[in-house]
């Protein structure tokens, strides 16, 4: 900056004004032009360190998460958060926080860095508690719930996942709809199951316990699924996730049935590897990982800056099967998940023109909250 000032025969402050675009009506345009030219020639890059030291703001956020990796669904949350952060001029640090590992050291490092805000994410919708050290700072929770709400957060609308998936099967003509559940009584299992029951109820279809089970994976899961299908012969199956839906395919192969013709199946995750590997491709409710990450970064930056980057159109998601919810909510935000149509439901993919199945009512938010509270 000193060099630029010297070469352009102006003072350092003038250079600073120009470089920071605060020269409107303060610096003569031709001088400003010269400064830009010289800066270019010299290959000038402002020193972020010095700038932050002076301004007290680092334009940096930290993404703290369990298993940055170990789940295959992981990356899109990071992707979405990075995308929003980048568009808004922020850099994002990544911190892996295994449940077992003590992250106080990392938090100290973050405090030393003067990170402007924190995204605390989980890769499966779980109960968490944010380390108390962070409570005084700007924190957003993504894809998780705190038992007592302290920080703004976003998570999938699990009730609606169950409701919409079931309603989609009903819309395709299914009347005996099985639910292959998850053996862990997690937020997701409870919410999706409630949605399933509500959709049946709204369609006047009686709930039949024999059509549901709860499984893990591997041979016991496959056997349980086969038994359920053998015993009850459903015409549609809503699986807790895509992996569990695979067992329905296995059953179909064994019994000479064709998914999408003899039997409809819908999963959850829209897991790329599974949904595009299965034949026919599996219709699935997509968990909006990208969108949640994107929302999280927008939210934390809005808290830092006191503005609303979404309302101001300063940022565009690269992907939004699920529309980005608004930021003006400091409590829990539920995000509605989209069904990604493939070919595993009788009648084939829904075209835009086709009437869409009834969706869960707006009240679903309270319903889920209640479901979860009693879980």
């Amino acid at each position: 900056m000193k060099d630029i000032a010297a070469k352009a025969c102006v003072s350092i402050s003038t250079v600073s004004l120009v470089i920071n675009h605060r020269d409107k009506g303060r610096v003569k345009p031709d001088i400003a032009a010269t400064i830009w030219k010289v800066a270019e020639e010299l290959g000038y890059h402002p020193n972020a360190m010095a700038r932050s030291l002076r301004s007290g703001r680092t334009h940096t956020i930290a993404f703290i998460s369990d298993q940055v990796a170990t789940t295959p669904y992981a990356g899109e949350i990071i992707h979405g958060a990075e995308d929003a952060a980048r568009q808004l001029g922020y850099m994002m640090f990544i911190i892996d926080a295994d449940d077992e590992r003590d992250i106080s050291g990392d938090i100290d490092r973050m405090l030393s860095w003067g990170v402007d805000g924190y995204i605390y994410a989980k890769f499966a919708n779980r109960y968490i508690s944010v380390p108390p050290t962070l409570d005084d700072l700007q924190v957003v929770v993504v894809n998780a719930e705190e038992r007592t709400v302290i920080h703004p957060r976003i998570e999938p609308d699990e009730f609606s996942i169950g409701y919409d998936a079931t309603a989609r099967l009903i819309h395709a003509g299914c009347r005996r709809i099985a639910y292959i559940g998850c053996d862990e009584p997690a937020i997701a299992q409870v919410g999706r199951f409630k949605g399933y029951r509500q959709a049946l109820k709204d369609a006047g279809i009686p709930f039949d316990k024999r059509l549901t089970n709860r499984v893990s994976h591997g041979r016991p899961a496959l056997e349980a699924v086969c038994k359920l299908l053998d015993d009850t012969h459903p015409d549609g199956v809503f699986a807790f996730n895509d992996a569990r839906a695979v067992y329905v395919y296995d059953y179909a192969f064994q019994h000479g049935l064709t998914i999408g013709e003899d039997l409809s199946v819908i999963g959850v995750d829209n897991h790329e590897v599974i949904c595009d590997t299965t034949v026919p491709a599996l219709t699935s409710v997509e968990l909006p990982h990208y969108e949640m990450g994107f929302w999280g970064a927008c939210k934390i930056i809005s808290m830092i800056e006191g503005t609303d980057p979404i309302a101001q159109n300063r940022v565009t998601p690269a992907y939004n099967a699920a529309p980005t919810p608004p930021l003006d909510n400091d409590g829990p935000t539920l995000i509605r998940c989209a069904i990604i149509e493939k070919k595993s439901i009788v009648g084939g993919p829904l075209k835009d023109k086709d009437s869409t199945p009834a969706q869960a009512e707006e009240t679903s938010e309270q319903t889920t909250a209640a479901a979860v509270a009693t879980a």
Copy 2:
């Protein structure tokens, strides 16, 4: 720091010495103790910004990658890199570099930050070219190849993957071994196929073209796999990856065969969702994503600091099915991949005591390099 100095009745420089552990024999121990106590009381955190401004080093690296997310195999590279970086006192920025997107803006930001080094990673082993802007800086390439080698890099030993997988099947008694290949002539396809042929040759088994094909995914892939199996009735199948191995399972279900008893299968990726969902669980060659990320961070930090953190035992991988290769190599490093034993091969998982199948010779590195060069 000023506050500490005041409260401890010493000068700022003394505080600095103590905080930075450079007080040995220079500051009286009791004074040092006081300083630590006061620092603790005041909740002092050194200001990394000021420190970096002064020292010119940020202890920060950038992880630049395509599709941070969109592949499900993604995260472990990040995980490994973050793990090593953290243990060595570095923070890691994440930058998503979609092939289409212009990342010069991001690079400018990195230059502004004064990032100490760059990891340039891909999530599928591909040819890349590192942006020339980075050529003057410290760069390590992970899971990719440059057409002309400029930067140190690490990638999976694709030849050995093919060799070891095939040898494993031979060891289990298979003699008619099919290869379900990939329709893209990528580095991985070429290398694994060469390894497959070499293993057959070394075992004195003639190569039979009819036992191999190359498929994509979905119905055409399933049909091609079924046709191959119908036509040739192999006793073992080496699949390019786990997703393609699934079609062998589908075939088996349709024909009442049992994988692991009537037919052996081995995949590549050790993709969690697939390998633990299939019945029986799929034995697979694991791509050492964590290990490559870990190596990449160690390597870039060794270049920055001029030391060898691995040799100095300053760092421990959380996971190493594949042992971390040494850092003293500024050209390409190939990493040998481990077979993760599950239950899809006749005779069951290999115990430690069992004799292991012959492995590709040490010369495989040259062989792969050659294979790849002519690809």
